[in-house]
């Protein structure tokens, strides 16, 4: 359950981060979720689908040229949320997907998610 604990610690440390999930982008499955309230599966599936569109679907060559590398994280608004997706440096198929308020410190989310991913993927 270490992954679940790391995920919760990360989410609780970032004000405005309402939902944090640990997902396998290759299969489109959410493996762990941390949130105040129980979320319908459709919501989690939609979050994962959007993250796949941002992080997995081929990066246009002009985008790759601009960034000078692949896409490591993405931020996109939803109806009432700011969605932040952060890919694992160790395994690009794994990512933390967050649903945040628009006032959330995006840099704190990205840095916190990267640290949580590293902690989750570090062997005991």
């Amino acid at each position: 359950m270490r992954a679940a604990e790391e995920l919760s610690s990360f989410r609780e440390a970032v004000p405005g981060c309402r939902v944090a999930t640990f997902a396998d982008l290759s299969s489109g499955l959410v493996l762990y979720t941390s949130s105040h309230t129980r979320l319908p599966q459709e919501r989690l599936d939609a979050l994962c689908a959007k993250a796949r569109a941002m992080l997995v679907t081929g990066v246009p060559s002009g985008v790759a040229a601009a960034l000078g590398s692949g896409v490591g994280s993405a931020v996109v608004p939803d109806d009432q949320s700011l969605l932040v997706f952060v890919r694992s440096a160790a395994d690009p198929n794994e990512a933390i997907l967050c649903d945040c308020t628009f006032e959330t410190d995006v840099n704190a989310v990205i840095a916190g998610a990267a640290a949580a991913l590293a902690a989750i993927e570090t062997p005991d």
């Binding site: 941002m54 985008v63 040229a65 601009a66 000078g68 996109v76 608004p77 440096a89 628009f102 995006v106």
Partner: protein, 264 residues
């Protein structure tokens, strides 16, 4: 350098919140492609009353500049290992030979820092050296820095209106697509050269699948720490703005986009 440019830069910083005072200090950031010495010199240039400006790094090192009439009177409290004590001598008109050493000391002080803080306090009359000091412009010339003209944005007459113009003040490169497209501009303009309309349309579909992308945006960050971020905002009628920004500016860019949309 023009007073117009100086005022516009100051207004942009005020609007962005960069000039917010926290615990008595403000944070100074380097402009894209420049070091923090330019920010220090701008502080001197914006100080008219006699003041003691204390610049402080994250790890607590600090140095103090005694300033009046937009001129540096002298540096004091130089951290150990930076320059020699002669740098703390009051500056007069004959001080040209020492200016490069002062700039070198400032560069050493700010090297490796993402931001520094500045606290401002009064400089009592009795504490002021009886010297004319040297202007920020003279120091900038010694540093090879254009205090205001080196902003990545084009001059006002060329600057696109709205979000593109606003974000250009913090961006490495900006480009607009659609009916009134503007070619890439900014210090890293070439990095946006390969983006084309079809790729922007592709990104719009990803940001808002099956719907009108107007008002939506997305920000894609490169892998690695402190990497660049490509921000694309989708306006109406197929118009879009792409901006390449430093990673630390992502929150500010999103706020800027939302504020611009709220105004329109």
């Amino acid at each position: 350098m023009s007073e117009d440019r100086r005022l516009r830069d100051k207004l942009a910083r005020l609007a962005s919140g960069d000039d917010a005072v926290v615990d008595g200090a403000r944070r100074l950031f380097a402009r894209p492609g420049e070091d923090l010495v330019a920010a220090i010199l701008v502080e001197i240039d914006e100080t008219i009353l006699a003041r003691r400006l204390t610049f402080r790094t994250e790890d607590g090192r600090h140095l103090t500049a005694e300033v009046a009439n937009r001129r540096l009177l002298r540096l004091t409290d130089l951290p150990a290992g930076i320059g020699d004590p002669a740098l703390s001598e009051p500056l007069g008109p004959e001080s040209d030979p020492v200016l490069p050493s002062i700039i070198a000391a400032l560069r050493t002080f700010a090297a490796g820092e993402e931001a520094i803080s500045v606290e401002t306090g009064p400089l009592p009359q009795r504490g002021q050296p009886d010297v004319l000091g040297r202007s920020a412009a003279a120091l900038a010339a010694a540093a090879g820095i254009a205090l205001y003209a080196a902003s990545p944005a084009p001059d006002a007459s060329d600057m696109p209106a709205g979000f593109a113009g606003d974000v250009s003040r913090i961006a490495l490169a900006v480009r607009t697509f659609g009916p009134s497209s503007v070619p890439p501009f900014g210090p890293d303009a070439d990095r946006l050269a390969a983006l084309d309309d079809s790729e922007i349309a592709d990104l719009a579909r990803r940001a808002r699948p099956g719907g009108d992308p107007a008002g939506a945006f997305l920000a894609l960050a490169a892998t690695g720490e402190d990497a660049s971020v490509l921000f694309v905002g989708f306006e109406s009628a197929g118009a879009s703005v792409a901006a390449l920004i430093p990673a630390r500016e992502i929150g500010k860019t999103i706020s800027l986009w939302r504020a611009t949309r709220a105004r329109e």
